[in-house]
Symmetry: C2
């Protein structure tokens, strides 16, 4: 998808939040913000929103000298998710439709992320999970089930740290020998990298690769050749999180996007309401 002018106030809000997260120095906040404003004046709106967000977070890392400012937050959220894993696994196993339950839980992991940067407790996360599971889900599980059965290669695109433990629940319901999991190639916000895939033990279950990019989404032209080959060859791609939707929604590929709609721009694009938990299929299918 292209960037809407409505994304700009959000980019700026995110810039302020992120600089406050990585530095306590108000002159740093102001300096970064001025640089970002100047750059956004010339933004290419034909590119997807994560292109701007990638650029913003590179600048924040450069200007603050912090290579991976969200590492602590990611570790904390990984630990929290690890604690919850046994009971979530039990929920999947006792379900009459384990695939559907694991899809719902994977989307729930995307919701929990909303509070990942604040100090959520285990009980609060349990509450968010219970609330989210009680909400309607916009999913067509039978289409996904059919594609999983037919696919000889499945590429799973992870989204955030912590959330990746919820992805594990779904990945375990897939034919793991045919699955490749891809994570970001470098730190950006709290997105999952190889360390987080390992923390979730996913390297013991499926092949894990990194995409070579530090964008909070999947900008194919910015990814490494191995990832691009994997993407091209996959019969089925399961893409987690709104960032992957924003960057891949126009690709001609057999993609199922799993996420919660977190802004009005994507809501208007999908024709669904903000806050909808959903599994949606890419509109442009691969040529046979």
């Amino acid at each position: 998808m292209k960037t809407s002018i409505d994304c700009i106030p959000c980019f700026i809000r995110q810039t302020i939040e992120a600089t406050r997260y990585v530095s306590a120095d108000t002159s740093v906040h102001e300096g970064v913000l001025r640089k970002i404003l100047r750059a956004l004046a010339g933004i290419d709106l034909d590119q997807s929103p994560p292109v701007a967000v990638q650029w913003i977070h590179r600048r924040i890392r450069e200007l603050t000298g912090k290579h991976d400012p969200y590492r602590q937050a990611k570790d904390r959220f990984n630990r929290l998710a690890l604690e919850l894993l046994p009971e979530l696994k039990a929920k999947v196993r006792s379900s009459p439709d384990p695939l559907k339950t694991s899809v719902r839980l994977a989307i729930t992991g995307n919701v929990v992320d909303l509070g990942a940067k604040s100090g959520l407790t285990e009980d609060e996360v349990r509450l968010i999970i219970a609330q989210t599971l009680s909400e309607p889900f916009h999913i067509d599980i039978e289409s996904l089930r059919g594609e999983i059965d037919r696919a000889s290669s499945i590429l799973y695109l992870a989204d955030n740290a912590g959330e990746i433990f919820f992805d594990r629940l779904l990945i375990e319901e897939l034919p793991v020998e045919r699955v490749t999991l891809a994570v970001r190639g470098g730190p950006v916000i709290n997105d999952a990298t190889m360390d987080d895939a390992n923390a979730a033990g996913l390297h013991e279950i499926v092949r894990v690769i990194d995409n070579g990019s530090d964008a909070p989404g999947t900008i194919l032209s910015d990814c490494n050749p191995e990832f691009r080959r994997c993407f091209k060859d996959a019969d089925l791609i399961i893409a987690k999180g709104q960032g992957n939707y924003e960057t891949l929604s126009d690709e001609q590929a057999n993609i199922f996007f799993l996420f919660r709609i977190k802004c009005v721009v994507v809501a208007s694009l999908t024709g669904l309401e903000q806050g909808t938990n959903m599994l949606i299929r890419a509109s442009k299918q691969k040529d046979p």
Copy 2:
């Protein structure tokens, strides 16, 4: 007050809303936004937020060639307020404390403004008024009453069109022969100008002046000499709306600010919650 970096996303959101309001051409929206972003990169944060908003709306008027883009909205809201005036007046008259009731209704007019740009119906406005009147008000009416009794000259600073009819209710409770009402000197958003004061019949009750400025607040250095003299000589100033608070909160004068707190920046500055309806006295009093 100074401008916070948290005001910037809000300036940009307002720019987008305003350009969409005045033009249907998306290339105009984008062009204006890029100019505003470039300018905001160099913003002087020591100035109050309305300085930037004044600049933004001047650019929007220049770039769209519309001198008073909100005139229709202001007229519609004036008509709506005129319809409601008799029943609101009756409410004041039947009240055991007409001054207090008129202060509450004046603040309520500031709340109704939130929906002024959308097509609110009379019934919806009645509902907002009833809801607002049922909310707590943070007011110290006895301080204001004492100052009104003592003041030999009172300056009332209006805020928006429509809302100015609600101000009339309070103005009628003041010693009108000692009151001067000031409106903006030129169109900016839906702020009240001389036309709106006249529409509310205020010129028949009190002396009405314009401040010579097209800022959505009261930037003294931008106002005309007549207004500045009035401001300096007034024993009591009643300032309506958040814009007047933002521009005058640091002035050494006997000011009572009446407004609803509409953003987190002002909430944090006043130590009150966003959404609080209040009458607050300036912290810096005039030298005796």
